[in-house]
Subunit: 289 residues, 2 copies
């Protein structure tokens, strides 16, 4: 596995690769490191569709609205390198903050979808998705992949990246990958490492609430949104809820209380202790559309 720390290094390498191998496909997985089985499932998909698998590890300060969350974001680069190598990743891009942003930390360009960014995670994490779109745009420009693989846990992120990719004609094929879960159902996340044993126990209610809602809908597809929302209350008493709702999966608009669901997304963000976790499940569709 080749490791690059500079934009020039990886861009030059890939430019040469494309020149020498005009018919080969580059598959790219952007990550913030502290890799887990969820990331590895993305790498495997990239390995399957691409001739060359490129992974980036960069904890992007621009997407953290909370400085403490940024500083506490778990890091284990050595382990990440060995995990990536074991999965057959060909190229690792691992730049520092200076390399990506230079001395510019303010007055960055904002890439925005005002409506969609005002919902779910966008509501309580101002600037988060602007930071995500900027780094993903620039990674796409530097790496110019044919494919990019993203997890469905960050479904709102996936949707925004798909829209940006289309509107800015970046010509990358975006491949969504289902959420990977622990045995008890907790969605895998780098942030899980920060949970205390007690918070880890509490965290199980997140996926249980979503599964209970989906089960209720599968048993009775004419169940009202209001009743589905009621199920959250039964499960999420022990955690601090940021949002928990039933949404239109294309627009992320709240579905009205008196609606029945043909295509719906149950999505949740909660705090377990000081760790913010998100999860979602689909009804009548899936994350790939």
């Amino acid at each position: 596995m080749q490791i690059f720390n500079t934009i020039k290094g990886i861009s030059g390498f890939l430019e040469n690769y494309r020149c020498v191998n005009p018919d080969k496909k580059v598959a790219f997985v952007p990550t913030m490191g502290f890799l887990h089985e969820g990331h590895l499932s993305l790498f495997r998909k990239a390995r399957e569709v691409g001739d060359l698998v490129v992974v980036s590890i960069f904890v992007n300060p621009a997407q953290f609205n909370n400085k403490e969350d940024y500083e506490k974001y778990p890091v284990n680069t050595e382990n990440d390198i060995s995990l990536a190598e074991n999965e057959g990743v060909d190229v690792l891009f691992h730049p520092g903050v200076q390399e990506i942003y230079g001395d510019q930390s303010t007055n960055l360009i904002q890439l925005r979808y005002p409506d969609m960014m005002s919902r779910l995670c966008g509501k309580t994490r101002p600037g988060h998705f602007e930071g995500v779109l900027l780094i993903v745009h620039n990674l796409f420009v530097w790496i110019k992949p044919q494919y990019a693989v993203f997890g469905c846990k960050d479904y709102q992120q996936l949707l925004l990246i798909q829209k940006m990719n289309k509107d800015l004609h970046l010509e990358v094929e975006i491949i969504p990958i289902p959420i990977i879960r622990e045995k008890d159902g907790l969605a895998m996340s780098s942030r899980n490492a920060r949970l205390s044993p007690e918070n880890r126990k509490d965290a199980i209610v997140i996926s249980r609430s979503l599964a209970a809602i989906r089960d209720a809908w599968e048993k009775n597809p004419r169940i009202l949104v209001k009743e589905m929302k009621g199920i959250y209350e039964k499960y999420l008493g022990s955690v601090q809820v940021d949002y928990a709702g039933i949404y239109d999966p294309r627009t992320l608009e709240d579905l009205p209380d008196d609606a029945i669901v043909t295509q719906g997304l149950a999505a949740v963000a909660v705090y377990c202790g000081d760790v913010r976790l998100i999860d979602n499940m689909f009804m009548g569709g899936n994350c790939g559309g």
Copy 2:
């Protein structure tokens, strides 16, 4: 001169051109048509720096905050084609609105610099620069020029495009070209064609006010901004002023009344009848930086 109406057509042509001529440079001039001597000066610069000169003509609805202004924007495609041909333009891209935006007229991605876009033209034309940056970004993606040539009349636009080009790593060399003026000093603009004879006479005060300010500064570089602003009042009584100020040319911030100017931009937007005209002049520097 080859003319393309589709993105696929021009992208495919240019991809092939780059393949066959890996060392040749593409120079690009985006326009909204109704070409005048100002545009032709951009084409000549493009001809000078580029091996292949590409011009686009597209009246971009996304950058008009005023529907009537969009509908009244002057069009004369046949004449444009012959002017472009005479200047040695190699390729003309002339798409329709449907080709560029499909059926999407709302929920477009916004490319934003909140601070800089809140000043000068951004203040009274909400959404204008977001529309400009989106179309320029996408034209850069489709055409992938080495050089792009822009006029200094739209200095705020030029500055925003330079910033976007840098922040989104579009790797285009942006070349600014000085304002071309009529004999009486009026900055050339496609909108001048819409002036009534009376308004055309009034419009002369725009460049006269700027020249008077620059002259005063050249005579006495320690003149205060307050006094320079006073000069506008002497000249702009017969027109409706949108803004008329003395700005920091890097940030477009208002210079304080009690400051003296080492580098300054005198910039104006006024309505002559219902036609909005802009103009600017530099003190202690020029539009190229």
